[in-house]
Symmetry: C2
Subunit: 272 residues, 2 copies
């Protein structure tokens, strides 16, 4: 039985989606069709939503689960008339918070996601630009401005991790690919030695690395299992020898890798 | 009075942080010191957290607010002994969901964030690579593989938006800068004409654009207000003439712009 889950919001839907996904992840056995419906910010749109919800109920033969972060009471009243089972995120927590803070909620539509708003905009754009400009060892003379420098073999996940940390946290993260040359010298490149306290290592299972490299350069020596296995082994040895903390990215999401790096390095996020 | 808010999790902390930020954003008047504490996954770490919470309570002169998504009851019992005011996100919703789904939660530590796990890993990396390889009009012969093509003047926010859509939703988004040449010809470049259904326009207030360009090329003609104002006006005219939907990025976060584009273009996310 496949059941529909709706993440409904008057804003981007990120909060409803994030919490809904987290809660549903606790239920392994049931599988869900997940639908995010952002910007449901009028009674008209809510009425159209009700039709969608009821039609999913009929198709699935079971009522959908609705995770909503809608603030406006009138809009929520419309949704409540649907056949869905409502998990009403905001109304559950706003009342106790109002009491604790001795303050009334502004009940403002679409204000739910505060990360990334204007006060943070420039900081974030700067961080994304920093990650792009200092990607893949492209330049090393701005490392004094970096919060972090990720190191690892080519295609082990450095770029997405740097970009995620820039986007989500405003962290300025450079990355530098460790190549065979560096391995044979058995030492860190000079550009990295100066900033050893900012280094963090990424490693990856050779199988996964082979698959990723084959997408880029099929059947090359670069993508061969033997080469991948050699590089990973040498780089992990380098990390151990140089006392560089590292993490194997194979079994973690980009979110998890990023959060672990910040904890490990004690770097504070720049976006508030 | 500044009050401390803790976002505490046994995983990345993203769910606790996202929901906590959303709820606090509803209270304009109080200002908060926000601290995310991920990977609190043992009784020992929870005990150390209690000390931090109590010390914040003493320093602030008011008890901290705690948003937690910890699944393990033993760990939560330790946190509950702190002086903080707990908003217990998971325990609030898991019981009603268990009942509705006639299924027991797995109560698995660290499973809270399901987006971006392994099944999605390659899809997401591919999307990030696509955004990077097709950034800034670098190449146009892969536009048939694009889900979306963002167009706009240089530095109006195209790259961060494409990267965010790739990271968050697995969407393959290219972007193409509209330059003065295109404006004077008063028509779309041939590479874009073929894919007009995939185009979405970004625009920006000339003031903001001037500030952003001055960070890159201070005091250049490129960064002058007159030039920015001219380019923005011409591009908006082009969008209107060519019937290309567009959005002004000035007053929206990258999350908001991305969510609006997906709704407007009816593009479904690729990450599940």
């Amino acid at each position: 039985m496949k059941r529909t889950a709706f993440f409904i919001s008057d804003g981007t839907g990120i909060t409803a989606e994030t919490l809904g996904q987290s809660l549903l992840a606790q239920f392994d056995t049931t599988s869900f069709t997940k639908l995010t419906r952002p910007y449901i910010d009028s009674v008209e749109k809510a009425r159209a939503m009700v039709l969608q919800i009821n039609s999913a109920a009929e198709k699935d033969g079971v009522r959908p689960i609705i995770f909503d972060t809608i603030v406006n009471q009138e809009i929520r009243d419309v949704l409540a008339q649907s056949e869905g089972f409502m998990i009403d995120i905001f109304s559950t927590f706003l009342a106790p918070l109002e009491q604790e803070l001795c303050s009334h909620s502004s009940y403002s539509v679409g204000k739910s996601h505060s990360i990334g708003h204007n006060s943070n905009y420039m900081e974030r754009i700067e961080a994304v630009n920093f990650a792009l400009d200092n990607d893949d060892g492209a330049r090393t003379h701005y490392y004094d401005k970096a919060d972090l420098i990720l190191v690892g073999v080519s295609r082990c996940g450095k770029t997405p991790t740097c970009l995620y940390m820039a986007m989500q946290y405003g962290i300025r993260a450079a990355n530098y690919p460790l190549t065979e040359d560096d391995m044979e010298r058995l030492q860190l490149p000079a550009a990295l030695k100066k900033h050893k306290d900012k280094l963090f290592g990424l490693t990856i299972d050779p199988d996964r690395l082979t698959a990723i490299r084959n997408e880029r350069k099929p059947n090359s020596r670069y993508a061969s299992f033997a080469q991948c296995e050699f590089e990973v082994r040498e780089v992990e040895n380098l990390f151990r020898r140089e006392n560089i903390a590292f993490i194997n990215s194979t079994h973690f999401s980009v979110e998890e890798i990023s959060a672990k790096i910040l904890v490990e390095k004690g770097v504070e996020r720049r976006l508030k």
